[in-house]
Point group: D2
């Protein structure tokens, strides 16, 4: 499978007083890339939410390797992993376009809950994260 | 002159508990469109900032006509105006792509200050906003 | 009636590359002050939303008079107005604590819609904005 | 040493379409708590930045244990750690006030760079993170 990639450009309001993208903003970038990846796989986050199925993050691990700044273009690569039956994960890498430098690597682990707050993996989600 | 247009797609983290894009986020969209418009005209906001020239907003008027929601694609049109010698303005319209509906119209008025906080319109900025 | 006031402190992630609070962040401040004002008047925004009643902004007018920066403390004053039967408004002023300087004045006009998207002013909201 | 604690209240614009605080917002909360902790210890992030000393995050590990929602009040506890000579860390816990439930635990590791991008731990920062 060819890895899913989504391209972005830094917006100036995302930069902080250090003149670089604020640490917290990367989490927004990563979330948007995950949702677009899921959409590409036939899973619509907003529709699931409206149906009472909540995909939630249980663990986030981010390694910051370089900074993005005003004007930078970059892509985020998303690879699915399946750590357990009720957990799914996204291995994500942010790569700066100008020099192909990895700026951040992340492993985001999530689960899926139904309206009662119990683990519930919808079959469409299950298919995206094959168990090994 | 053909109006400047920049295309966007709503990101899910920009939606609030009403399931629609939060009011404040439109200001971020508008700012990004203004900075890209300026860049297209040869004015780099980040470089001006680093040189001690601060473009600041003095007045913002926004009319909300409809809502954007998850997955919506839209463009922002930017038209420059020049209300006075030391003020420049951006007439901006957000248009939803699916039905060409104007979602928001805005008039953002700004000025430019030097490091001492005095009005100072750099010649590159001056050219973008011709006086009538 | 004593005007409603809510105190804040600037958070560093709210500052942009100019080293001052980003223009768009003031919308967030103003929204939070409005919701706390409504709560103080017995109107819970989140509960209304869950009940399918959507308070929405139709017009925002902001005058920026000075900048807030890292560490600044300030309060927001909120005064209700009633421009028409189906519209209510909030006159808001942001005042810096260190020198009592007004940093921003705003007039935010909203309406209330039911699940079908039709104007519907709940009696609890109606009471907060007396018609003259 | 008594652990540093900072109290917050959820703001509605921080909630997403799931009606809970968006995952990325916790990064903002944590950063604000770190900067206030540093300030309490005599280290001013904004002044360091202005002096060309950049405190940067190199690793963020977050465990999400529960969700915060509209109206929730919580505090963040911050404990300093010193993993190595050129790295310092913050062990942070977000605790909901209503039931004392830990909502999130985090370990944020950072370093300090000078204007040339080389590791440089200012003596004021060094004192906050004692080496064992």
């Amino acid at each position: 499978m060819k890895p899913f990639r989504l391209q972005f450009k830094v917006r100036d309001y995302e930069c902080d007083m250090q003149g670089i993208v604020n640490n917290g903003v990367y989490f927004n970038y990563l979330e948007h890339a995950r949702h677009e990846f899921l959409l590409d796989q036939g899973v619509n986050f907003a529709e699931l939410t409206a149906a009472g199925i909540h995909l939630v993050v249980v663990k986030a691990e981010l390694d910051y390797k370089a900074s993005l700044t005003s004007g930078d273009e970059f892509y985020i690569e998303v690879l699915p992993e399946r750590p357990s039956k009720v957990r799914f994960a996204f291995r994500q890498t942010i790569v700066r376009l100008s020099d192909n430098k990895p700026v951040l690597t992340a492993l985001i682990t999530g689960t899926s809950l139904n309206a009662s707050g119990r683990p519930y993996i919808h079959s469409d989600v299950d298919k995206v994260f094959p168990q090994t």
